[in-house]
């Protein structure tokens, strides 16, 4: 039978029962919509997060103590490992060891509360280097000043605070110049960070930044760093710098077997890959869940096609009497099923894209970030082919049943 004619016949059969056809494809519509939406949001999240990580700079390298974490218990070991101290920092500073380093910032995490005149708040306290922080680009100073190398050398009790911290502790009051208390030690607030959207990867609103030397001597009482953030001269020198850092660290710690390393190095490239992997896996998992809707939808299509075959027994008999072969009848019903599911797929893709777009606007405004809407072309192609396949798979049984009817019995059917 001619393809065009088969399509025409299938199309007319679907239109003859508009409401039923619509309800039949609802499962497919929901499934495809969900997949489109998930992939669209997933891709948006990925580009947002990656954009922020890339904002840290492709030339940023992070050196951490301990083994590279491979499981949950390794993280604790990293946190308490003390293999990176001032000695290591000094060694890395020497140009003959690592020539391509332009900047380094040790990081000390402090787990304490902050208080001001009876108000208490628990921010993220970081002993850091203020210049390095601002040079990353996504944290900016709103008012006041930052601490410099002299402050760091002298263990100055000064702090730069985020917008949320200022609001919690000071309310409408101007925090600059005021003294806040961290673990029995007074810190003078010298700078206020600009408020950033809550969705940002690195939430600067919650920060209290103090010189890392001050954090060590007054708050943690330790002499090691949780990490050292390092900036190489350019993205091209990152690999060489990583190798130089490794050599320097191994020399310093007398490590000959690289599996015994007591430090590990992360580059932005590595983080980007990790985040990409996680988000892809998450998107795939959610898509798989919504694929269940497709299977359910497919069963619905099969059910309705079976009813349709029974209802149209007489038509099948007539077509056979007029010369339709088994494969003609098979093709007719299969086309009908596929056309039905493709139709559902189209609606699903449109709805999914629409909801994805609405979600991107909502997320942009709700989180105060630049959430980019991406039309998931791949998901669209997958959605279309999956809906066609669902139609084929769940249409085959009813179509076969239709094609095997004997012409005279079908004609006699009442």
């Amino acid at each position: 039978m001619k393809l065009q004619f088969t399509l025409h016949t299938a199309n007319r059969a679907i239109r003859a029962n508009k409401v039923r056809s619509g309800l039949t494809v609802l499962g497919i519509v929901i499934g495809i919509t969900a997949i489109m939406l998930i992939v669209s949001i997933g891709e948006g999240a990925q580009s947002l997060i990656l954009g922020q990580i890339e904002g840290l700079g492709a030339e940023t390298i992070v050196l951490r103590p301990g083994r590279e974490p491979k499981g949950p218990t390794d993280f604790a070991q990293t946190l308490f490992s003390d293999s990176i101290k001032t000695r290591e920092l000094e060694a890395l500073k020497r140009k003959e060891n690592v020539p391509d380093i332009v900047e380094m910032a040790p990081v000390v995490f402090v787990s304490e509360s902050v208080s001001y005149q009876g108000e208490t708040f628990r921010p993220s306290i970081i002993g850091w280097v203020a210049e390095f922080m601002l040079s990353m680009g996504n944290i900016t100073l709103e008012r006041g000043t930052i601490f410099d190398e002299t402050d760091i050398r002298q263990d100055a009790a000064v702090a730069i605070i985020g917008a949320k911290v200022a609001e919690e502790l000071f309310g409408a009051e101007d925090p600059i110049g005021k003294a806040i208390r961290i673990k029995d030690k007074n810190f003078r607030v010298i700078g206020l960070l600009e408020e950033k959207g809550a969705g940002t990867f690195f939430n600067s609103n919650n920060l209290v930044v103090i010189p890392y030397t001050t954090a060590q001597s007054y708050l943690t009482g330790t002499n090691h760093f949780q990490e050292i953030m390092i900036r190489a001269s350019s993205p091209e020198t990152v690999l060489r710098t990583v190798a130089d850092i490794e050599t320097t660290m191994r020399d310093l710690h007398n490590i000959s077997d690289i599996t015994k390393d007591d430090f590990y190095i992360e580059t932005q490239q590595g983080v980007i890959e990790q985040v990409g992997t996680i988000l892809t896996a998450l998107t795939a998992f959610l898509s798989a869940v919504s694929a269940i809707a497709l299977v359910v939808g497919g069963i619905g299509v099969m059910n309705v096609m079976l009813v349709s075959v029974t209802e149209r027994t007489k038509e099948i008999g007539l077509r056979k009497a007029l010369g339709a072969k088994n494969r003609d009848i098979m093709a007719q019903f299969l086309f009908e099923a596929v056309l039905l599911t493709l139709f559902g797929g189209f609606i699903g893709i449109s709805l999914g894209a629409l909801f994805g777009y609405i979600a991107s606007i909502g997320l942009s405004q709700g989180l105060g970030v630049e959430w980019e809407f991406t039309f998931p072309w791949k998901a669209m192609l997958v959605g279309l082919s999956v809906s066609a396949v669902v139609g084929l798979v769940f249409g085959i049984y009813p179509a076969r049943k239709a094609s095997r009817k004997s012409p005279i019995e079908a004609l006699r059917y009442e």
Binding site: R12, R319, G323
Partner: protein
Amino acid sequence: MPLIEAKQLKMIYASEGAPTVALGGVDCTIEKGEFVAVMGPSGSGKSTLLQILGLLDRPTEGEYHFDGKSVAKYSDDEQAELRNRSIGFVFQQFNLLARTSVLENVKLPLAYSSVPQKEWDSRAKKLIEAVGLSHRMYHEPSQLSGGEKQRVAIARALVTNPEIIFADEPTGNLDSASGAKVIEILRKLHNEDGHTVVLITHDEAVAREAKRVIALKDGMIVSDTVTVHASKR
């Protein structure tokens, strides 16, 4: 060579208890260009005979040559092809596709044929005109009278230009005026275009239009008469 040559056709339906004999060994030969009426009381096996001769059903036993070829052993698809090319059906129930225009209904057999698609419309329109329904071309069956429906069915039966038309009580559901018109068309097909027509009827008046009447009773042919008067008209 006869168009249809059937020998010892038997049709036995196995049912609980005693099997039902619908045809008990029927010999039947029909030449090209004949106009045959098959008569008999209900249950005499005339519909069964027509269905077997029309390749809609397979006999339990017997030989069947259509146009010199033994078609009893043909596969379903081969039979479908032969039905499409060489056999036209007109049913008592019309069997038109609902919600489908007259033109589309008449074109339906062409969809299963090797006729090129560009010829479909002209062929169908010519036949719709021939049965006097040009003004109904784009109407749907529900908008037609019984007689008009049957004329559409006749146009459909003729659209692949078959060797033979089988009509199973084509006037059974029609009033006498519409019935007469349908019979008139069938007679014209035979007289003017030389079509072979096999017609089942209860109606003596209809049967008289045919040149040969085969009478069945209890699955056997009881008479096979050639009447001459019809041709003299």
